[in-house]
Symmetry: C2
Subunit: 402 residues, 2 copies
Amino acid sequence: MPALPEIAGLRLATCAAGIKYRNRDDVMLAELAPGSVVAGVFTRSATRSAPVLDCEAKLAVGADLEAGAAILVNAGNANAFTGSAGSGTVEAVTEALSACLSVPVSRIFTASTGVIGEPLPHAKIIDRLAELKHGLHADGLRAGAHAIMTTDTYAKAATATAQIGGTKVTVAGIAKGSGMIAPDMATMLVYVFTDAAITQPALQTLVARLNARSFNAITVDGDTSTSDSLICAATGAADHATITDPDSPEGAAFADALGAVFHDLAQQVVRDGEGATKLIEVEVTGAASDEDAWAVARSIANSPLVKTAAAGEDPNWGRIVMAVGKSGAQADRDRLTIRFGDILVAEAGWVAASYTEEDGAAYMRREEITIHTDLGLGSGAATMWTCDFTKRYIEINADYRS
Amino acid sequence: MPALPEIAGLRLATCAAGIKYRNRDDVMLAELAPGSVVAGVFTRSATRSAPVLDCEAKLAVGADLEAGAAILVNAGNANAFTGSAGSGTVEAVTEALSACLSVPVSRIFTASTGVIGEPLPHAKIIDRLAELKHGLHADGLRAGAHAIMTTDTYAKAATATAQIGGTKVTVAGIAKGSGMIAPDMATMLVYVFTDAAITQPALQTLVARLNARSFNAITVDGDTSTSDSLICAATGAADHATITDPDSPEGAAFADALGAVFHDLAQQVVRDGEGATKLIEVEVTGAASDEDAWAVARSIANSPLVKTAAAGEDPNWGRIVMAVGKSGAQADRDRLTIRFGDILVAEAGWVAASYTEEDGAAYMRREEITIHTDLGLGSGAATMWTCDFTKRYIEINADYRS
């Protein structure tokens, strides 16, 4: 994990509430100074968890920025598929935190990750709120990255800076989880903080735009959590003119830093995909449309046969052809070009004359693989990242009862 | 395998052409008497193999039924993604067989299954055509079922009969392959024969309708072959009035027998899914539409997390909720009802009061599992069949190079 900077206007604290884990912090509180704006994107699942529905509702309405804001996250229990009890829990926790921090409930955002279908013992969290409040300090991101972990094998964080009107702006983020991971322990959570001054609509636009090319462009098993959440908060503590237009030079400079943090965190999530031994970049070009390019990229990145071939270091380009064919995108077998890295594998509907199985096999032994597919039809393009599909994935997820 | 009846008007032969395998038959020839009608459905892949494209083109035009027909299938090489050479091979083989059997090229249907991207050594097949012709006999279905196998662990066949206008009609079929199976050895091939008298349009209508609820309702890994083919031939040798309306009483009686054979063969294909230890029926009801029901069924049946849970005999209903949520279908978390067999697992958005983990775990130890999901929204329904996802699947497909 990189050294994490402090973000003016942000304070964090963590504690061990014993929701599921023993001897580790499992709750993170982030407090945002008055004037902070909050943006977010969430899982598209139709069975979204209570905390996700609560966050979406709060982001949908205008807020009194002078009130400040807070983010409370627990690991060990997802508070998902717990019926009416789920929203009751969110209410209880946010009201208690509101009283504790003097921040309105409408500005308190929560997330829960862990077991599905079991009521969250929220008293265990509420009992620790005063302790968390007193523990708030500026240098808490690293501890936060650890407190929100479930089956992650390492804590994930990234940081970047930008110059806006001669002022240095800092972006720092943490993340956990690689999509649907080990049994019942679903969820990707991402929290990104910055001292940039930017309006909420401009921040929301950038978050949605950059999310599409980072967290929405990664897949481990194609399965989707009921709780995936990305929240980005800007405290506005940096001394520069407030960014109102995401496409202004200042907005673009900030977007570069924010996008770098999103990209870095997304890559870390894929690398930590359970059982993963390789990071696979799936690059699609020449599609009839961007939509088609994304469909082909998803089809390749989620194909068990492509991912098991990668695990076996097998340059099995026939499975790429298969995945293109089943994607639903417009494709012409005889216009396909497939490359492994710089190695031309197949073109004009057949294996390339220059290609040798030895070259392909040598390339597949790398830890980072790029599979490039050009459909030869148009200018549609997309890039996704996935991991290989190993026996370890089955071991983790099959949870053999012997 | 059941005892297979002879079908009047059908003769088969097999031989060992040595395309890839040694010491086993790898080519099947089926000869259909004059008057036979042929119908078929094929992979929807955009990268369909040359034989598939050839069959589709021939079925799209009216045919001189008095000319008879023939089907030639080889295992070991898929003749897929072989560029222009692919269609040249189909031409060479069908022209040679046409001369050998005195059947027009337009009535010769071929299929190839096996390695993708390597030219099919068609001379090896052409050299054996005369031998195949002389070997044609009425009792060849069993040998045919074996000759078309690739990585199948057993040969697949099914039969049924119907009474049409007081006349007994027989249906018998063979199949190979479970969708995309072991490395490069893609493809499901199905050949169903009957002595029923039925017009080609009526047969095509029934084949497409029954295929949707059998072969299109099974999945092993969600991957799609470039060569999947189902061909159904009716010789018309049975002595009854020709069926012209698939929805007439005679058409319905025939459809029952044909559907039974399709269903039986489809189940055998799933049971033979590589590494499979369980047959899982995914039943979806109460969806807002049939389209939504199919989307939910596909999402559950293809979810690696649902399939690994089954492998681990883990009653992990949270993953069913996840799969419903990501399906894209209309869903209301708090209206979901989930059953494992007759066991009520979850209702009204929460685990059922009567449910115990012990009951669920005991049920999941069965070899045949039914996962029933009711969305509580409408009357849309769908049923699919899948298998569990085991370490053996990875072993077979990762093809470890050590």
